[in-house]
Structure formats: C-alpha cells, structure tokens
C-alpha cells in the first residue's frame, strides 16, 4: 500500500512521563498505520497508553521519540500554533465529557469551528443546521448544553467534530458517560459517518460495545501493541 493511502503513520512512537522524577513509559515503541476510511479502536485497560496514543496522533501531546504523521505531515516538525491549525482543519475531536462551550447553543457550538476557520456566516449556519439535522437533533439547535441530555450533548460534539469535514475523527472514550442505549445510537452514528462520508475514525476505548463497531481493533498493553485484528463485517 502507498504511503499516501495512510491517514496516520506511527513509527517507533514513545512517550515517557515523569511522575515525581520516576519515568513512566506510556508508549514504549508503537508502530502502526491507519488507512483512509478505516474505523479503528484502540483498546486496552487503564494505563495501557491508548489515550496517550490518541493524543499524540491528534497533536495534543508530543512524542518523546519516534514519528507521527497525519495526512503525510510529520507532527514533530510543527510548532504549537501549526499543530492548532492542523487540529482545526484536519482533525475532529470527540471527548469523553463532550466539552461543549456552555454559553453557546448547540448550533453555535457546531458553528464555532467554522467561525475559527473563517467560513462565511450564511454557509456556517446552513452547514451547522444540516449537520444537526442529519444527526437527528435539528430541533435542539437553539438549546444550550445544559438543556441537553448526555447523549444529545455527545451528538452535538460529534456534529462539531465532523462539520468541517476533517480527514480524521478522534474519539476518546466517547461512550464513557452514556447509557447502553445512547451508546448504541452513538456508535451507529459513528459507523454511518465512517461508511457514508468515508471519514477515518480512531477511538480509544475499553468499552467492548465500541470495539465491536470498529473494523480494526488494536490492543494495547503497557504502551505496546499486543494485538491488531481486523473484522470487515463490523460497523453495525
């Protein structure tokens, strides 16, 4: 496979923290690639390094050693402002606790990314409403996060993450605060986005339900990849 077909490439990735002077190897040499349009779950117990790996891929954390490239760009070569730019334009994030802006409505939260990107107001509004509609929460567009349920907030967060059509969607424990029914809805939503929009998705999770939806399941333990399985039939 050509390098251009990979959205993410990690080689010899290491991340070492210092906890009271004691080195903690969160990632201890990770090598893997993610193809365009894939749906990957990073699975493993707490402390296995899955969130650290996700953060390194998203440019929120910097590797101690090794390389991470996203869309062919080596993240180590980017300044923090350039990393912010990359996150804004090429990577969408869905966080465990939604992390919506509390003083903005659902529509304004979705529009926010596009405002940072300098998209014209009319188009912004149109795209945001269309996105909320497509995720089944169009009628909640004017409500603020505090007026929405957890599942609804997570849908808004997904809408915000994908509205500007990033090449990569990163979801860190997206189902952690959701009940099983809402989790199933969210996963179906992610699977639909992956299938219909061809968006590459990487989730970090220890929820078996989330793992079951991913076509590729990478198991991590002690900062190393211990399994890498593919199930083409997965994805709802």
């Amino acid at each position: 496979m050509d390098a251009h077909d990979y959205v993410v490439q990690c080689h010899g990735l290491e991340r070492t923290y210092h906890d009271d002077g004691v080195p903690v190897h969160a990632l201890a040499g990770v090598d893997f690639e993610v193809e365009k349009g894939d749906f990957v779950s990073l699975a493993g117990p707490s402390g296995s390094g899955k969130s650290t790996l996700l953060n390194c891929i998203g440019g929120l954390d910097r590797a101690t050693a090794g390389t991470v490239t996203v869309g062919g760009v080596d993240l180590a070569s980017l300044s923090s402002a350039e990393l912010a730019e990359l996150r804004l334009r090429r990577v969408g994030f869905v966080f465990q606790s939604y992390n919506l802006i509390p003083v903005l409505s659902a529509r304004e939260n979705v529009e926010f990314i596009m405002q940072l990107q300098g998209v014209h107001a009319d188009q912004r509004r149109r795209d945001a409403l269309a996105m909320l509609d497509s995720l089944g929460i169009g009628e909640l567009a004017d409500r603020r996060p505090g007026e929405l349920s957890g599942g609804q907030q997570q849908r808004v967060a997904v809408a915000r993450a994908i509205v500007s059509k990033p090449v990569l969607l990163l979801a860190d424990e997206p189902s952690a605060n959701l009940d099983s029914h809402t989790t199933a809805e969210l996963l179906q939503l992610l699977a639909d986005i992956n299938r219909e929009r061809g968006m590459t998705i990487i989730t970090a999770t220890h929820d078996p339900a989330v793992m079951a939806f991913a076509r590729r399941r990478i198991g991590l333990q002690d900062g190393r990849i211990v399994s890498d399985l593919r199930d083409e039939g997965a994805g709802g």
């Binding site: 929120l60 954390d61 992390n99 405002q115 300098g118």
Partner: protein
C-alpha cells in the same frame, strides 16, 4: 491557510461569559463605576481649585503678563519705573483687559495706629476690567478716576487702624528723589475682598495722585489680562520686544509658589487616579484570574479543537476590556452627574482663613474639562488592558491536555 480571528464570536463569547457570572461581574462593574466617578469628581474639584488659583493670582494685581522695570522685583520703588505714553494701548492679540499702576511700599497712619502697606495708584476703570477690585464689596465710595485724591482701603486694615469711611489718614513713602514724602487723604471707602490679607496690604488711590506724591510721571507696572492663559508666553515675548528696556514676565514667573502649586495639582490628579486605578486593577486581575481558572477546562478544549493561543489571549483581553469599558462609561456618566450636582460650588467659608494661602476662595466650584474626561477614559482603558495581561497570559499557558484532565 491561517486561522482568522473571529472577532464577532469572541465578542459574543465574552458577553455570555460575563453574563454567566453576572453577580460577580456586577460587583466588579460597580467598583469600576464608583472608582471612575470618584476620580472624575476629585479631578473636577482639583481642577476647580486650579482655576481658582489662576483667577486669584491673575486678579491679585498680577495679570497673566506684567511689564516691570529691571530690578523692581527685588527693590520695588519709584526709582525702578518706566514712562508709559498717555494714549498707550497694548498691541498684542487676545487682551481681555489691562492696567498701568504705580505701586510702592509705604506706611499708612491713622490717629490710632500705623501699618506698612503697598500703596497702589490706579485708574479705577482699568482695575474693574482685570483685578480683584471688580469683585469686592465696598462700603462708602469706590475711586472715581486716576485723579481721585481719596483712598480706598481694606476693611481689615480699617479695623487695624481704627479708622472709617470719611476719616483722614496719612500716606508716607519715599519719593523719586529718595526723600520721604507724605500727604493726607480722606478714606473714600473700605473694601471687603475674598482674603483678609489683601485687605490689609493694598491701599488704593488715583494713579496720578500717587505720581504727584512720588514726584514722578512714571508707572511701575503694566499688567495685562489675557483671554487665554495658554497665550501668556507669546504675549510676554511680544511685550518684551515692545518694552526692550524693561522686563516682561508671565504670572508663573512672578508667582513661583502659585505656579508650583498649579503644577502640583496636575501631578496630584495623576497620583490620585493611579492609586484608584491600581487598587481597581488588583480587583480586576483577581476576578479575571478566577474566571480563567474556572474555565481552564473550557479553554483547554478550545485549544484542543484548534483555537490559536493568540485568539485565546484576545478573548480574555476582550472580556476584560468589555467590563472595563462599560464601567468607565457608566462611571464617567455618574461622575458628570456628581459634578453637575455640585455646580453651585462647595461652601468652604468656615475654613477661609486656612485655605486662602492656597489661593483658594470660600466657594469651590468643580470644573470638568473634556480633556480630563478623555484622560480618565484613556487611562482607565489602558489600566484595564494592563490588568488583563496577566490573566490572559495564564489562559494562553493552558495546555489543552492538562486542562481537559481537570
């Protein structure tokens, strides 16, 4: 492509963030309003004092500009005088009034007492244009002309001399030939000035009458009142060219103590303003740092989804400037209302004896200059901007990952 700065959304975010903690921000807003209003009121009172100081100095026979013979300031005698043509008119722009005088030290004697005074020969019509004589209350008669042979003395001096209107007194001074001269005069009237020291010092008579006594047709001073105080240096230079053999000086050169006080008022206003704003800035920084710390997670998320550090900085600064601007505008409004409510002046008559040495009258009228309003506005916004730097810097230092773990 670089991220644009979405000013509109940042303004929207700032407004809503301020509204989110409306009780806390209302208290902060109140503090800003009160501080600015007090600063403006204090400024206007100090400005009023300054205006009074200038009026007093100019009116107390100094004028904005004065021409004196060389050496007169050290030895004020008729020997240090100069001739002024009978039809003299000042040839310089912006003249509000003028007077030529003969002013020498002398002694006044009544049947009861003797006092050292300043004998001033005046043209009464000219004095009514420029000096404090225009504002005094007179018991008896005012002088009528430069040839009026009577004297006008202060009420306080009359009390000291135990004399009264219509009674005779004797003036004694040194003539132009260096010999003592004396003559008797009748008291035309007694005047009450804003300051008892003026009443005790100045004894007025007709200018030509005093010239006769001194044996000289010369005058010792030409005093000019201008429309604009700011034109005094220009006027002095013109007069210096016209009276090359004499000395032209501005009021601040003639009255260095008053000038020093005048400048002190400007400094006092700045010090007062700085103290108030520095105190306010601490409150502002404290509130904003608290607001930033409360929103650390949110700021981290904004950074995580791609907001540039500079944009985060702009947002925090904008939030600060919004509340400061609103507070300053309301404060200025309240300050203007407070100044207007005192437009009749503050009665200081019970402290007259103590404050007259500070060139202050018994009624202090606040003066509000557009310049002072603009200065308060500009400096307040500057303080607000400076106060927002530290919280904004803290907000920028938020690492997205660390922030979202909290």
């Amino acid at each position: 492509m670089r991220t644009s700065v979405p000013v509109k959304v940042l303004a929207q975010l700032s407004c809503r963030n301020l509204w989110r903690h409306r009780r806390r921000n209302a208290m902060l807003l109140g503090a800003i309003v009160i501080a600015v209003a007090f600063v403006l009121l204090a400024n206007s009172l100090l400005r009023g004092w300054q205006a009074q100081m200038l009026d007093t100095v100019v009116a107390n026979l100094t004028g904005h500009v004065k021409v004196l013979a060389p050496g007169y300031r050290d030895d004020p005698s008729i020997q240090r005088s100069f001739l002024l043509p009978a039809d003299y008119q000042p040839e310089l722009p912006g003249v509000d009034g003028w007077a030529s005088r003969v002013r020498v030290p002398g002694v006044i004697l009544s049947e009861r007492d003797t006092r050292g005074v300043q004998l001033v020969g005046v043209d009464p019509a000219q004095e009514l244009e420029i000096s404090f004589l225009a504002d005094v209350a007179v018991e008896g008669d005012f002088l009528e002309s430069p040839t009026d042979r009577r004297v006008l003395i202060g009420a306080a001096l009359a009390d000291q001399l135990e004399t009264a209107v219509g009674r005779r007194i004797v003036l004694m001074t040194q003539g132009s030939d260096g010999r003592n001269r004396e003559a008797g005069y009748r008291v035309a009237g007694t005047y009450r000035a804003s300051s008892s020291s003026l009443e005790k010092v100045f004894v007025f008579t007709g200018r030509e009458v005093l010239q006769d006594l001194l044996g000289s047709p010369a005058v010792t001073e030409l005093s000019i009142k201008l429309v604009e105080n700011g034109q005094r240096s220009v006027a002095r230079d013109i007069l210096q060219r016209q009276f090359a053999a004499q000395e032209a000086s501005t009021w601040d050169e003639l009255e260095p103590m008053a000038a020093s006080m005048f400048r002190f008022v400007d400094t006092a206003m700045l010090i007062w303003f700085s103290i108030m704003m520095a105190a306010l800035a601490f409150g502002l920084v404290n509130t904003l740092v608290t607001a930033v710390m409360e929103r650390t997670r949110e700021l981290g998320m904004l950074r995580a989804i791609g907001m540039q550090p500079g944009v985060v900085l702009i947002q925090v600064v904008m939030e600060c400037l919004m509340i400061v601007s609103l507070g300053v505008l309301l404060g200025i409004g309240c300050g203007v209302l407070a100044v207007r409510s005192l437009s009749e002046g503050i009665d200081l008559s019970q402290w007259t004896a103590g404050i007259e040495s500070y060139y202050m009258g018994s009624l202090l009228i606040p003066v509000l200059l557009p310049y002072d309003i603009l200065r308060v506005l500009g400096l307040s916004l500057l303080f607000g901007l400076l106060a927002s730097v530290f919280p904004a810097w803290r907000a920028v230092r938020v690492e997205p990952l660390d922030a979202m773990r909290r």
